[in-house]
C-alpha cells in the first residue's frame, strides 16, 4: 500500500479539472455533449461526492439524502423569488438551509447505527416528501412545484433598479446568463471546487478519524474520541453538498418540486456512489456520470435506432436481435442499469474504481508474473 502524497493529490486534482472542463469535447463522440446533460453530470457529481463523504468515509448509509437536494432547490428558488436572480446568494442560501436540515435529521438519526440509521434517514426523507405535498404547500407550492412569477419581490434586484416587465427574468451570475453552455461551465467550476474541498477533507485529520470510525467505532471511543460530533459533522457537510447540488438544479432551471426528495432519488445517489467506488475520491463522480448517461442516452434508444444498428444482418436475425435488445433500451434502460449494478457489486465490490485499480496493477506488475497470472487464468477458464 502506498500512502497518498500531496503531489499525487495535486496531479489528481488537475487531471480531474481538465477532464471536467473538457467535457464538451470528449463527450461529443458519445452524443452526450449537450449542456443539459453535462449540467446533470456535474450536479449529480457534486451530490455523489458529498454523499461519499458520509457513506464512503464513515460507512453510515443514509437513505434519505435526497431531502437535502430538495431543500437546496426550494431554498434557491426562494432566494430567486425574494432576493435576486443572481445565483450566488441562491447557492449560499441552499447550502445553509440544507445544512440546518442535515443537522436536525442527523442529530436524531445518528443515535443509531447500521440498518437502523438507514431506516431513520429514509423515514425522515419520506416524511419531508409528504410534508412538501401537504402541510407545507404555502412554502413548496405542492404538486405544481415552486416557480418564479412576475409578482415576485426580488428586493435586491429591485433596489438595484432591475425591472421586470413582460417575461420572467432568468438566473444570472452577475449578468452572465446561466442557461446553456455557460450554465454547464458554472456547474463544472462549482464541481471542481467541491471536489477539491472533498479531497482536503478526506486527507485531513478529520477525514482520517472518519475512516477510523468506519474501521472500528468502539475502538475510537476507547481511544478517547467522542464519535458523535464527528459523525454529525460528516452528515452535515454531506447534507450541504446535497443542498449545493439542489440549488444548482434550480440555477439551471429555476423551479423546485417535491419529487426531488422521493426515495428513488435517495436510492440513486447510493447507486452512483457504489457503482463508481465508495470511499474513493473520483469514483462517485464516475458513477454519477455513468448513471446519468445511461438514463438519458439509453432511454432515448428506440426500435428504429436498433434496426439501423443491426441493419447489416439477415432479416430474421435482425428482428430477433432487435426484439431482444429492445428490452434493455428505451423504457427498459433500468434493466440494463440493474444488470450492470449487479455485475459490478458481485465482481467488483469496490466499484468501477476497483476495476481501474486492478487493470493498473496488471500493467505495473513484473512481466513474468503477468505471464504466470495469464497462464493461471487460462487454466481456470478451460
Amino acid at each position: 500500500m502506498t500512502r497518498p502524497t500531496a503531489m499525487g493529490d495535486w496531479i489528481l486534482f488537475i487531471c480531474f479539472s481538465v477532464v471536467v472542463l473538457a467535457m464538451p469535447f470528449w463527450l461529443a463522440p458519445f452524443g452526450a455533449d449537450y449542456p443539459d446533460l453535462m449540467q446533470k453530470f456535474a450536479i449529480f457529481g457534486i451530490f455523489a461526492i458529498g454523499f461519499n463523504l458520509l457513506f464512503g468515509l464513515t460507512g453510515y448509509l443514509s437513505f434519505g439524502h435526497a431531502v437535502f437536494l430538495g431543500v437546496g432547490s426550494y431554498a434557491a428558488v426562494w432566494s430567486f423569488k425574494l432576493l435576486t436572480m443572481n445565483i450566488v446568494p441562491a447557492m449560499i442560501f441552499g447550502i445553509i438551509v440544507s445544512g440546518v436540515f442535515a443537522f436536525l435529521i442527523g442529530f436524531i438519526s445518528l443515535r443509531r447505527s447500521g440498518i437502523y440509521f438507514s431506516i431513520l434517514t429514509l423515514a425522515f426523507a419520506q416524511m419531508s416528501y409528504n410534508l412538501a405535498y401537504s402541510v407545507l404547500t404555502p412554502i413548496t407550492n405542492g404538486e405544481t412545484g415552486l416557480q418564479l412569477t412576475l409578482q415576485d419581490a426580488r428586493s435586491l434586484d429591485a433596489m438595484a433598479g432591475i425591472e421586470v416587465t413582460r417575461s420572467l427574468p432568468s438566473t444570472t451570475l452577475f449578468g452572465i446568463k446561466t442557461s446553456g453552455l455557460p450554465g454547464f461551465y458554472i456547474c463544472a467550476v462549482v464541481l471542481i471546487i467541491a471536489f477539491f474541498i472533498a479531497m482536503r477533507i478526506t486527507r485531513s485529520p478529520f477525514g482520517t478519524m472518519l475512516r477510523a470510525i468506519k474501521s472500528n467505532q468502539t475502538r475510537m471511543s476507547y481511544t478517547g474520541f467522542n464519535t458523535r460530533p464527528y459523525l454529525l459533522w460528516a452528515f452535515v457537510i454531506s447534507g450541504m453538498y446535497a443542498g449545493l447540488a439542489g440549488s444548482l438544479m434550480a440555477v439551471t432551471d429555476p423551479l423546485a418540486g417535491a419529487e426531488r426528495m422521493q426515495w428513488t432519488a435517495s436510492g440513486e445517489v447510493v447507486l452512483m456512489t457504489i457503482l463508481g467506488g465508495a470511499g474513493t475520491l473520483i469514483g462517485p463522480f464516475i458513477g454519477a456520470v455513468f448513471i446519468k448517461y445511461f438514463e438519458n442516452i439509453f432511454s432515448s434508444f428506440n426500435e428504429q435506432i436498433l434496426h439501423r444498428f443491426f441493419d447489416a444482418l439477415p432479416d430474421g436475425l435482425e428482428n430477433v436481435l432487435v426484439s431482444v435488445t429492445s428490452l434493455f433500451v428505451g423504457e427498459g434502460w433500468h434493466l440494463t442499469l440493474g444488470l450492470m449494478f449487479m455485475i459490478v457489486v458481485i465482481f467488483l465490490p469496490g466499484g468501477i474504481m476497483e476495476g481501474v485499480r486492478r487493470i493498473g496493477k496488471l500493467f505495473s506488475r513484473k512481466p513474468e508474473k503477468v505471464v504466470a497470472k495469464a497462464v493461471e487464468a487460462s487454466g481456470a477458464q478451460s
Binding site: S204, P205, M209, K214, Y222, F225, N226, T227
Partner: protein, 255 residues
Amino acid sequence: MSTENVVLHVADVHKSFAGLHALSDIDLSVREGETHAIIGPNGAGKSTLLNVCIGRLKPDSGHVVFDGENLTGKKPHQINQLGVVRVFQTPEIFPELDLLENVMVPILAKRDGSFKLNLFKRFSSEAEVRRQAEETLVDVGLGDLGDIEAGSLSRGDKRRLELAMGLAQKPRLLLLDEPTAGMARHDTNATIDLLKRIKARGMTKVIIEHDMHVVFSLADRISVLAGGRIICQGTPEEVKGDPRVKEAYLGEEQV
C-alpha cells in the same frame, strides 16, 4: 495498606449478571508507578473488573476513583481523556488503516481532545505526531511496517500494534488485559522486555495475566481474584507463600 500515592482506587464494587455475582466487595488500590497484577483462575472476574474500570460496564454499587475523579458513569472517551488507557485481549485496532495511522490516531486524541474539526490540514503532514508514532512503532518492534494495512498483520503483531496505540498516548494508567496471551515464547519475552522498559519510565500499570512467568517478572504487587472476590493481596513473595492462593490457583500450575 498505606494510602499514599494511590492513583486508582476501586472501592466496594459489586457487579452481578442475572443473579450471578461476578464481582463482590472488590477493594483495590493501585499506587503511582507500580505494576499491579491481577491474577486468578478463569471466570474469576478479572476482565469484568477491568471493564468496570474503563466504563464499559457499570458497577451495581461501589465506585472507581482515578486520581480524585469518579470514573463510574463516565463515558469511555472521557475516561480515556483522563489518561486511563486499556489494551484489549482480542486486539482492537483499525484494520483498514495502516500501522502508522493506527498509532497517529490515538496520539491526536491526546493532543486535540475528544473532538476537533480539523478539516484542512493534511493528516500525513502532522510531523510531530508522525515522529512520535514512528518512535512508538519502533519501540514495539514494528518499526519498518508503518505502511502496511493493519488488518493484514499476524495476531501477535496486532497485539503489539495495540500496545503501541496505548503507549503512544503516554497514559497515566495503562490497563493491560493478558498482553501475552496467544503469543509464542519468543514474542512473550519481547513483550516482557518492552513492559519492563515502560516501567522504567514510571508508567502505572494494571496487568491481567494468566502466565505466571510474566506476572512474577513484572509485578510489584499482586491481587488474586477468585469467585469474584479478592482473596489475597501483596508482593509476589507474599502471594506465592499464601496457602489460599495455592489452593485456588497456583496449585494448578506448579510455580
